[in-house]
Amino acid sequence: MKKCGNLMLVFGMISAFLWSATAFGLSDAFKNNIYNPGILKPIDSVLKVEVGDRAPGFSLPAISGGRISLGRYRGKKNVVLSFVPAAWTPVCSDQWPGYNIVKDIFDKNNAILLGITVDNIPTLFAWTNQMGKLWFPVLSDFWPHGSVADRYGVLRSDGLSERAIFVIDKKGIIRYIGVNNINKRPRLEVLVKELERLEK
């Protein structure tokens, strides 16, 4: 009887995995141009920073031209770093367009969003154009490859970055770290809750 129960439990867990692992709900905005890498190892790196640390500084090229440094926001704005693994992939393509309609939430919490991937500028330019006009800077951590992701400890062994969010306060201190399962989009409400905590 116990064996039967266990068998059913295993069967259930496999089913639940199959169920949750493959759904994306991808937007038609990207037509058939999305490459599906399949299911990847959920997390494949080890964090090099923790909550309470000073956020490692950086300066990266932006798709709008020029470079953007983390330091420019010190004392002025809270900063959210959104690392996504790769352009033209399913979950990543359906993450930033959601952030694009909640500028008011970022503004209300005196925060700026910086989107970062390890792709190069031309790729990021073409990809983000499909999302409509983004209100936040998109930065390329392409060269030296993934150096910023590596400094935060979210560079995977295959050269992609993790799907990770860092919330940094105006003093430059890391207040929240969320390294998500690369195969799933993080819930917006988690980020919003962390932003609201900053201004309290």
Partner: protein, 195 residues
């Protein structure tokens, strides 16, 4: 023995849920429903908002099935707050709702409902508030409804005709291509036989 007995209900429940999931995985996951089909067995949470419940003609709480909506035709939009097309088209779909609600011959016959693929309640509400969506939007946070509807890209539209005897039939099943409220409504009226 006690441990075994304790384990049974959870295992049986897991088994039953898994069977339901596997049913969609095996029979309905890779292809969207086609014109002439009936909808797969999907249970949708009844909206918590009384205005939405009244709009759909639902009295109970818990779950409902599309054919239980009090209407002759139900237009289902599979959307996501993360979908740029869904964002762009939202005002035009709101206009479709207004045209229907403003026409005494149509308002009780055609109902709109949105299903947020992979969206939580919070995310669906962000979309609803951002675009002032007047019709019910249902969260599908674990993609369970989306899975049963063939994992379609978004936005995806389904037109369902509800017959007098509780049966129903899909008369429209298409990805995106919302060319404007009037044209779409006219198409729905023609294909459903309401016109």
């Amino acid at each position: 023995m006690n441990n075994i007995m304790k384990g049974i209900p959870m295992s049986v429940a897991t088994f039953i849920i898994s069977l339901a999931l596997l049913h969609c995985l095996a029979f309905g996951s890779k292809l969207p429903p086609e014109k002439g089909d009936v909808l797969p067995e999907i249970k949708i949470p009844v909206p918590v908002n009384a205005t939405d419940r009244n709009y759909l003609g639902l009295r109970s709480i818990g779950f409902f099935k599309i054919p239980q909506i009090k209407a002759k035709v139900v237009i289902i939009e599979i959307f996501s707050m993360y979908c740029p097309h869904c964002q762009r088209e939202a005002p035009e779909i709101n206009r479709l709702y207004s045209i229907i609600e403003g026409n005494p011959d149509l308002k009780d016959k055609i109902k709109l409902i949105g299903i947020g693929a992979g969206n939580s309640s919070f995310e669906v509400n962000v979309f609803k508030e951002k675009y002032n969506v007047p019709f019910p939007l249902i969260p599908d946070v674990d993609f369970s409804i989306h899975k049963c509807l063939g994992e379609v890209r978004t936005p995806y539209f389904l037109g369902v005709k509800i017959n007098d005897y509780g049966t129903h039939q899909i008369f429209y099943s298409k990805l995106g291509e919302f060319k404007g409220a009037e044209l779409f409504l006219d198409l729905m009226l023609q294909l459903s036989g309401l016109k």
